[in-house]
Subunit: 235 residues, 2 copies
């Protein structure tokens, strides 16, 4: 089994893998807002109207964005009209990061939204010189990566009711206050985020209400009851 080319390989079961005595390991600054205010990184506050496109798919990625207020959706549309929302960005979130020269999806304001817009080139130039900034951008990307993995788990292995329950929990946590909160997006956005139809989302919300897992005031004003909600979330 051990061929010559593997001669220097250590079998994982035979030896303890050499490791650093890891501590909290968050050496990078988490304070992206302040870093982005560094000299030379001049951002612009921009107001986007409801449903306004912020950038389009295949468009050159010239800017990086941070939400001040409002909500933004990342959208991919297939040629036959099927639509997928891959992420929502709320106040404080950074979006528009991409490895390549072009965006792979579009971003649209869900409601009237104010965002800081930073030109990409100067940011990347600065990141190439300032390791702290680069490290911070790395963390921002990793955090989005982990959100994406949660999303994959949601879409791959959860029922409709579980998806809607998890979605509402997520939005509640990312909204400011506790108690009542407002869904900025329509049922269509939610459905396209959860890989469902608007009818199924509607039925799931109705069912959650019937089971006592939430209270409603209109379609978008919601208050969760966490104890019964957890019961319906599976894990």
């Amino acid at each position: 089994m051990v061929r010559e080319e593997d001669a220097l390989v250590i079998a994982a079961r035979d030896v303890a893998v050499p490791v650093a005595p890891a501590g909290p390991a968050d050496g990078c600054t988490e304070d992206l807002p302040r870093l982005m205010a560094l000299p030379g990184l001049i951002g612009t506050r921009v107001l986007f109207g409801r449903r306004q496109e912020i950038f389009g798919a295949d468009e050159e990625a010239r800017s990086i964005y941070r939400v001040i207020s409002g909500a933004v959706r990342d959208v991919t549309v297939l040629t036959d009209g099927r639509r997928q929302v891959s992420a929502f960005h709320l106040a404080g979130d950074v979006f528009g990061l991409t490895a390549g020269p072009r965006h792979s999806h579009s971003a649209e304001a869900v409601v009237e939204t104010v965002a800081m817009v930073y030109p990409r080139r100067p940011i990347e130039d600065a990141a190439r010189r300032d390791a702290r900034l680069a490290c911070t951008l790395w963390l921002a990307a990793l955090r989005q990566l982990e959100q994406g993995q949660d999303h994959v788990l949601l879409l791959g292995r959860r029922s409709a009711v579980e998806r809607v329950a998890a979605f509402l929990s997520e939005i509640e946590q990312r909204s400011v206050g506790s108690g009542w909160f407002v869904l900025p997006m329509t049922r269509r956005d939610i459905a396209d985020y959860l890989g469902l139809t608007i009818e199924t989302v509607s039925r799931a919300v109705t069912r959650l209400e019937a089971e006592g897992a939430l209270l409603r005031a209109g379609a978008k004003r919601i208050r969760l009851r966490h104890a019964p909600l957890r019961h319906l979330m599976g894990d």
Copy 2:
């Protein structure tokens, strides 16, 4: 609509957003292997047996990995046994990156696998000093982020046959040669990656074969016929 606190905000439709004249924009070095060979970053070649766990969920993230040969799966298991594979890593891929101190999922060798293992702390220390390394790690994370978004689109808005067709295309592209290639993973892994059951994966492959979109030699040895395959992929 424009309140006082928005006074300094520029409406996106009124002015051209100031942008840098963006070029190819890939200032960061893409050559992660060579960067990881920098002085001070001492990796270890480690051999993992088939199905061996490389790291577990909730385990401290002490290392970063790069696949030399073989294949690795990222796995999340819910308490009720439902299983989701969030990614496969093939030769050349970096994995084990995480923002927090702990892994959110486990990683397992799909087949006998050799990987380079780099201790995390020294890498992050170096990244905090060397902006090029930080920038490169940033790109690695962004690339995984984009793969995650493709995965979300797959799970959210594609039929079973489309998912399997897209999956086979993806593996073919990431494998070395052209023509025939080998699936290192079982039907269970594929099903858990695509959010399907093994029976549905099996039926989809059978159907793709019947429609002339692929040839089979055993369950894992495959050759794709791209023209008919595209037809069945929707977009």
